[in-house]
């Protein structure tokens, strides 16, 4: 990876709190049109994110944060991610995620007339993302 000592500041902000505030050497996100890898010295950038895990590297170790859509901005020496919801793998409420997965699946299967397909799909995606991340990186 990048030579040691070369880092960029990563902030992840939700409406209620700053989830992450740390120096990293590499960030990998999935934007609407594909994966973006960001290393220190990246040009200014604004990207819209998908419901997908965000990976970052510090001291050669790879970490993961659950990011449910949102935006990423690179400006000089900081990367700012603003998102309605973000969780570290250890903070994910698995029960809640399972429940909302069941709810979303049920909604999609029932196919009622007033079904808001986009919303149900998004909610299912968020739940699956949380479950996935919790199992892979939460040590559960």
């Amino acid at each position: 990876m990048a030579e040691t000592g070369k880092t960029i500041h990563l902030e992840i902000i939700t409406p209620d709190a700053a989830v992450l505030d740390t120096d990293v050497s590499f960030v990998l996100v999935r934007a609407l049109d594909g994966d973006l890898g960001i290393m220190p010295g990246h040009a200014p950038l604004i990207a819209s994110l998908r419901i997908w895990p965000l990976f970052y590297e510090t001291d050669g170790k790879r970490h993961c944060v659950c990011v449910a859509s949102g935006f990423l901005e690179v400006n000089g020496s900081t990367i700012t991610v603003i998102t309605p919801a973000a969780e570290l793998p250890a903070d994910i409420d698995l029960d809640r995620a399972e429940r909302s997965r069941a709810r979303a699946e049920k909604r999609l299967q029932e196919k009622k007339k007033d079904l808001d397909e986009v919303r149900a799909q998004a909610s299912l995606k968020r739940a699956l993302l949380r479950i996935d991340v919790a199992h892979k990186y939460g040590g559960r």
Binding site: I13, T14, P15, D16, A17, A18, A31, L32, D33, G34, L36, A43, P44, L45, I46, A47, S48, S69, G70, F71, E73, N75, T80, I82, P84, A85
Partner: protein
């Protein structure tokens, strides 16, 4: 003149009331602190999002996003944020007054009402007005989901052309003593182009500026509404705390006055009895 026993009963009842208002004061002051912290915690989010919006609108000045489109105003939507509970001083009546001034001199069809909180809904019922969309049960502990819900409704109505403007009416928290009913325009969004930034940095966009903008704008609305909800929650608790502090103090004063009165009546009774006994004894001699 009431008897000593009646006064005593009155003192007891005022003491009970005082205990309740004191408890409410304590509860709301603790929750006010929490609500204030939450309102402050959104500040960085707000700031970053506004910055991003500004840079985006600077990058594509002529963008015609449907959320920017200005139309002749035939119907205005008001998102009114009230509270679920009373006993919060003038908090609810301020919101109610604002609602009345918004609605008066206009036919009912010229406005579309989205109302949160039980109290304003009750007041509207009293005026024989039915809100077009109402939500309740979260006035003192709103979360982002509630804001998203309201934003979705307002945006839908705006995009469907049912309303031509959307305003948010909430109570801005200044301090525990002062809260101000505030009205801000939600839609159409007026892109704020800052002139001072000069030649702005060249940003890259992924996928492209237009698409980023169209995903950012709905979230921007969510955020503005969320801010309004948090401010109103802090205001409600602040108003309640102030009102309950006043009530507790007044009850204390009342108890003091009644106690003095009670003692006077009691003394008068004793004096009276003594005189009777003495005069009775004198008569026997």
């Amino acid at each position: 003149m009431p008897s000593a026993r009646e006064i005593n009963r009155r003192i007891k009842s005022v003491t009970n009331t005082q205990q309740i208002t004191k408890a409410m004061k304590m509860v709301s002051s603790v929750r006010l602190r929490r609500a204030q912290e939450r309102a402050l915690a959104t500040a960085p989010f707000t700031e970053k999002m506004e910055g991003m919006l500004q840079r985006l609108s600077a990058a594509i000045p002529g963008e015609n996003n449907p959320l920017f489109v200005k139309r002749d105003v035939k119907r205005t939507c008001y998102v009114i944020i009230g509270s679920d509970k009373g006993l919060a001083g003038a908090f609810n009546s301020n919101i109610n007054k604002e609602m009345v001034s918004l609605l008066k001199d206009k036919p009912r069809s010229a406005s579309y009402l989205i109302v949160t909180g039980r109290k304003p809904v009750e007041y509207l019922k009293h005026l024989r007005i039915t809100p077009d969309y109402k939500r309740a049960g979260f006035s003192d502990k709103p979360n982002f989901g509630h804001a998203q819900n309201l934003a979705r409704k307002a945006t839908e109505e705006f995009l469907a052309g049912n309303v031509d403007e959307v305003y948010l009416v909430y109570t801005k928290f200044k301090s525990a003593l002062s809260q101000v009913v505030t009205q801000t325009k939600l839609l159409p969004i007026e892109p704020s182009v800052s002139e001072k930034s000069g030649p702005s940095e060249e940003y890259l966009f992924a996928p492209d500026a237009g698409q980023v903008l169209s995903t950012l704008l709905p979230q921007y609305i969510d955020m503005v509404i969320y801010n309004g909800l948090l401010q109103s929650a802090a205001s409600e608790l602040g108003a309640r705390m102030t009102a309950m502090t006043g009530a507790t103090d007044n009850a204390g004063e009342l108890i003091e006055k009644l106690t003095v009165h009670y003692n006077k009546v009691r003394q008068a009774g004793i004096t009276n009895e003594l005189t009777e006994i003495v005069s009775g004894a004198n008569a026997l001699q």
